[in-house]
Symmetry: C2
Subunit: 347 residues, 2 copies
Amino acid sequence: MEKPSPRRITIVDVARHAQVSTTAVSKVLRNAYGASPGMRAKVRQSIAELGYRPSAAARGLRGQTYTIGVMLPDLRNLFFADILDGITDQLGGTDYQVLLAPGCNGEKAESRVIEAMIDRSMDGLVLIAPVSAKSRLNSVAREVPTVVVGRHGPSATYDIVADDDVAGAFLVVDHLVGLGHRRIAHIEHHETDPVRLREMPNAQRAQGYRDAMAAHGLEDQIDIASTTYTQEGGYLGAKELLARPNRPTAIFAGADVVALGALEASAEAGLSVPGDISVAGYDNSALAAFGPISLTSVDQDGREMGANAARLLVERITDRERRTAQVKLSPTLVVRRTTSGLSSSEQ
Amino acid sequence: MEKPSPRRITIVDVARHAQVSTTAVSKVLRNAYGASPGMRAKVRQSIAELGYRPSAAARGLRGQTYTIGVMLPDLRNLFFADILDGITDQLGGTDYQVLLAPGCNGEKAESRVIEAMIDRSMDGLVLIAPVSAKSRLNSVAREVPTVVVGRHGPSATYDIVADDDVAGAFLVVDHLVGLGHRRIAHIEHHETDPVRLREMPNAQRAQGYRDAMAAHGLEDQIDIASTTYTQEGGYLGAKELLARPNRPTAIFAGADVVALGALEASAEAGLSVPGDISVAGYDNSALAAFGPISLTSVDQDGREMGANAARLLVERITDRERRTAQVKLSPTLVVRRTTSGLSSSEQ
DNA sequence: TTGAAAGCGCTAACAG
DNA sequence: CTGTTAGCGCTTTCAA
């Protein structure tokens, strides 16, 4: 049985061991200016020998904590895992450690979580699809470097990385029209707040859907079920759409989980996919790619979004005065087996 | 445009505003003994008026950070989301904040992440299905209160919450035997390390499978494909099993993702599920419940596991001398549409 | 280039 | 019950 280490190694231990000042050790730790190569080597040697690791809590009191906080609204949405991979990849070589704040549904929980991250002196924040009021986001960003992912802007205080959701919606509608569909319906996440209506991805997708339909001269075919971005929302939305007198031949769901619900509702209604009805999703999550489901979906390249977010965040931590950037990524369409042309009886 | 707050409110500001000492404020903050009701009220009032929030970094230097770190190996495994829900639920009323350390595959990444959490002075750690050497886990637990979830023990330094994987395997085998199956195969996650062979859930499930088969007098039917707990592992494992001369009529996959791979392989082989072959998984993840898949699976009640882990952790933070506990939860079987009796041609 | 010394915001002894 | 004081481990002036 090993003896429990009675006390952690501190910078003082290292300084004594290397026979230098704690200042010197601190400089080496931060790769700061003002330490000779010889001293650097000595200090590094001692650090390795003693197995010293700096205390982030103590560092945070004066300088940085080398911690990046990521808030994500829903652990069950696999798309967010891609974003996270992008972030951790990008931060791989650096001293930054990523910590996640889990499951914050609603503005209140979101605020609590953001505060918790600020209280823990995190050096920077990545907020994924936040729902908070814009003024709130701005005041957060004024306090700590922040990048917002998946919510459109612009903002003068935080950087933004988002998918071009309007373009994504066009991809789907174009694809379906190309297959001969005209009665193309959409399931959206219900939204009333005017700012969110402009900034949230779900609203942009719905707008893109409307614009795309209009661009094809199909404004009279526009048909929207307004529910939520959940599997149940998709189920209920599709049920509603399928019950209408002029039943759609294709459904564009605003998210993959929504599409799954729509698939369930279709099966329940005795409709075969894609023979009787085509279904497309958004996010190209692992679920969409899964063989037996094989859902046509819009790919957002979450990895790339995450990598961009991390890059921007580190830049802003380095230079808080830099002007904010808005990165908009182009989505692509991944056609799989849930969309096809109309069977003759439907035409 | 609001003015950016030039400096954060500190305990000193609160003390001055309430006309008391910082000690008093600190006591109120921690609900510590030695403050009159009148003083408590005054301080609370000032805290609210000034919008004061304590700095976790500073607190950590002397006392607690009120932060619980959760390490989970794979964000894409939805079962872990349930565990997390259980943890956050249990910690809901307390001052503790949960932070996650993401995606650590392999012993090295795991060590790095654990160190990062310790360096950030977290008050306690929940390690979910860690793969590190036992000595490593013990030395971590000696440094900071730790609960290990999903890996069997026992240990004298950390608490354990685990599912009774042997019982779970029995549930599956009993169910399949009850349906008339005899040639029941298993897909396991390959494991060689002797300690892990005893402690990891995957190994326990494989052992449970063997024991259950023997209990039914079917030891000569034992048939195991040794791959990994991934969808691809399931696909390859099932392919291997289905290619054998004496093809199984049922496959017990060690995890839901593995079962999905097995479903793909079965479809590819032209076998209908459950007509030609039954498939059962483990974890009862959201995927299993999803209508079109509807996988028979063992339910571990991740929420309950998480809640137990959080409870034990807080207990241990409060009393580090308490003897360690091992909580073993009984799984249940959720029968869905991927398992059924043999068709007459197979009997 | 180097190091002494003064905090960062909080908690915990200890005195009153 | 209340306040004074000495740090926690690190960074950062500022002199040498």
